[in-house]
């Protein structure tokens, strides 16, 4: 997924969007995707084909100075941060995010423009097989 501009992203069909929220000061956060409350779930998938945009809204409620740190991933290889704060003139702050879906090739090309190599959606990176504990300690001792 890549960042187009503030709170606007483009990702591949079926790509998983993860949202991290850290509340402080008694803040209560509510996440809605396309108008539906997703409760305690902190991820959702983009549509499997180029489709209408998906919209995420994060609402915060709480006493003065209650806050919520937000992280949207994976954006440009990392996490995009946001912050909500209950203030006197903004007692119920809210942030809206738009997620566009484009073809694999389009997203890859956009990423290339930004100098970022895209990770294919849903494809796991193959890790080297993990050595057993015994094998690891044997290697440490020089194979004796």
């Amino acid at each position: 997924m890549h960042r187009i501009q503030r709170h606007e992203y483009v990702g591949q069909p079926g790509e998983l969007v993860r949202i991290a929220t850290i509340t402080q000061g008694g803040g209560r956060v509510r996440l809605t995707v396309d108008g539906q409350d997703i409760g305690n779930v902190r991820s959702f998938s983009l549509p499997n084909a180029p489709a209408p945009d998906r919209h995420l809204r994060i609402d915060l409620a709480g006493p003065l100075n209650a806050s919520c740190g937000v992280g949207i991933s994976t954006v440009d290889g990392g996490t995009d941060g946001d912050f909500l704060l209950c203030q006197a003139f903004n007692p119920l702050p809210s942030s809206d995010y738009t997620f566009k879906v484009a073809s694999l090739a389009s997203v890859a090309a956009f990423g290339a423009l930004k100098g970022i190599a895209p990770r294919p959606a849903g494809k796991k990176v193959k890790k080297a097989p993990r050595k057993s504990t015994r094998a690891r300690s044997k290697a440490k001792k020089g194979g004796r």
């Binding site: 000061g25 008694g26 006493p63 003139f89 119920l92």
Partner: protein, 507 residues
């Protein structure tokens, strides 16, 4: 056994001239404030918090993210309406928001209690500096100065001296929240020593105390369920819609779009500089300058009818939400509270009197409309007073229950109170004179040992203008603690029968 007949009396109290004056002072303080400046302060505060975030991820454009929030820009316009027309709906909303913020943050309006008492010496000078820096609060009642140390006041004073990070918000830190449970105060009686001059010498120290909250059920942050219900409620949804409509109206407003593009470009430069330098002080100063320069231009733009309507609807929706938020705060304020206090009272003629007090207060019932307070007090002298064999003075237990009874005909809600007090004096002892000073006799009349019980039932009828009319019946086995007799002897009462009958709806 009850040895005295029940005491019955009408007393008219002007009670809360102090409470009314205090609320009037707070109201005046809110209305007199520059709401646009407050709005800019809040945007500035948000930018600082944005810049300070590290988890779950840093905010890439801490300053740009603030000016992108059109709700904040809408509130600036509403704040401008407040400053231009304080009695408008926007003005009343802003006043309510600022008052709530002041209460929540424990801010007090600047003390209007002036004093003509001169001060002399190093300690008063240090105390004066501490008061000015906000490290301690000062209260003046007659000839007595009381200073109270507040933890957040100390933090702010240290931030002001750059001894703490000026951009950090310590109010939510665990250490600050723990420290806020304690309060230390000291009182100085300026009639002692060099009369009429505050010197803070030992003989002027008339009392000091340490108070600690042991159980605090009044933090609104602990009422997660209520905040969730607010969020899911109709008023919150209507508020969200009104906010979206206001944003949509701004997007269609050509003059605003041009102005906003200019502000955004200016702030982009600040974000860019900050991303490389990480000099928060320099960037935040530049940000405040940009806001101070550009936001007044927003207030000068000609607003289309659609924007005016959207802002009016936004004010209306936020007013309803604010009412619900107030209800949560009011409910939280009735949570259980257990405090312990150690008070040392210094009298010129008697040994120091130590008083240990435990106070429990809670709102009873589902809506917490019934107030219950219980306190236990034990007092003992530091050493044996002259002519007395023991240091232990008294043990008191007080309990009070207040319950609103609802309106009587057209009158305001009648308040029912039942209060009881039990005092145990194990020994004959001396009582320090009230407001003890040089004129107090060396040995005051002793209080005789024994058990004292007092029971009072009271109905209080609030009248307009802060006046309350209490009607009480008090019974006691001893008269030391009955106050009505003294007041009945020294007050007269003028009664306007027409007004009284009008209050209860009788023509």
């Amino acid at each position: 056994m009850i040895r005295r007949i029940l005491v019955f009396g009408f007393v008219a109290l002007l009670t809360a001239p102090s409470a009314f004056a205090q609320s009037a002072d707070s109201d005046t303080a809110a209305k007199a404030r520059n709401a646009r400046a407050e709005s800019i302060d809040q945007m500035f505060q948000l930018a600082i918090r944005n810049a300070g975030q590290t988890k779950p991820a840093p905010v890439k454009e801490p300053f740009g993210d603030v000016v992108a929030i059109k709700r904040l820009l809408a509130m600036y316009l509403i704040a401008a309406q407040h400053d231009a027309m304080p009695t408008s709906a926007a003005g009343k909303l802003i006043d309510a928001l600022l008052l709530r913020a002041d209460k929540q943050l424990g801010a007090t309006s600047p003390s209007t209690a002036s004093t003509t008492i001169a001060s002399k010496g190093l300690v008063p000078e240090i105390l004066g500096v501490a008061v000015e820096s906000g490290a301690i609060n000062r209260d003046v009642k007659g000839s007595t100065f009381t200073f109270q140390i507040t933890p957040m006041g100390v933090v702010k004073a240290l931030q002001g001296k750059a001894l703490l990070d000026i951009y950090a918000d310590y109010s939510t830190s665990p250490a600050a929240r723990f420290a806020s449970r304690f309060a230390v105060s000291a009182s100085f009686d300026t009639t002692r020593g060099t009369a009429g001059t505050f010197t803070a010498e030992g003989n002027q120290l008339s009392a000091w105390s340490l108070r600690a909250k042991l159980v605090d059920g009044r933090d609104p942050a602990d009422y997660a369920q209520l905040w969730s219900e607010l969020q899911a409620g109709d008023e919150s949804k209507a508020f969200g819609k009104a906010a979206d409509d206001a944003v949509a109206a701004f997007v269609q407003w050509t003059e605003f779009k041009d102005w906003h593009a200019g502000l955004t470009k200016k702030v982009e430069g600040i974000d860019k500089a900050y991303s490389t330098s990480k000099d928060l002080k320099k960037s935040s100063i530049a940000f405040r300058v940009a806001l101070n320069e550009e936001l007044p231009k927003l207030a000068e733009l000609t607003r289309p009818a659609s924007v005016k309507k959207a802002l009016d609807d936004y004010v209306q929706a936020m007013t309803k939400v604010q009412t619900e938020i107030e209800a949560i705060y009011d409910f939280a304020s009735k949570g259980q509270l257990l405090t312990a206090e150690w008070l040392t009272t210094r009298d010129e003629t008697l040994p120091d009197l130590y008083t240990a007090t435990a106070i429990y207060a809670v709102g009873l019932g589902k809506a917490r409309k019934t107030d219950f307070t219980l306190n236990a007090v034990a007092s003992f002298f530091r050493s044996k007073p002259q002519g007395v064999d023991h240091t232990f003075k008294t043990f008191d237990v007080n309990a009070q229950l207040d319950h609103p009874l609802g309106k009587v005909l057209n009158a305001k809600a009648l308040l029912f109170t039942i209060a009881g007090r039990y005092s145990y004096l194990p020994n004959d002892t001396v009582a320090p004179g009230a407001g003890a000073g040089p004129s107090t006799p060396a040995a005051a009349s002793p209080a005789l040992k024994g058990h004292i019980g007092v029971l009072q039932v009271k109905f209080t009828l609030p009248v307009t203008g802060g006046v309350k009319i209490p009607l009480s019946i008090t019974a006691s086995n001893r008269t030391e603690l009955i106050k009505e007799k003294d007041i009945r002897a020294s007050f007269g009462l003028t009664f306007d029968l027409d007004s009284a009958l009008a209050i209860v709806g009788i023509k």
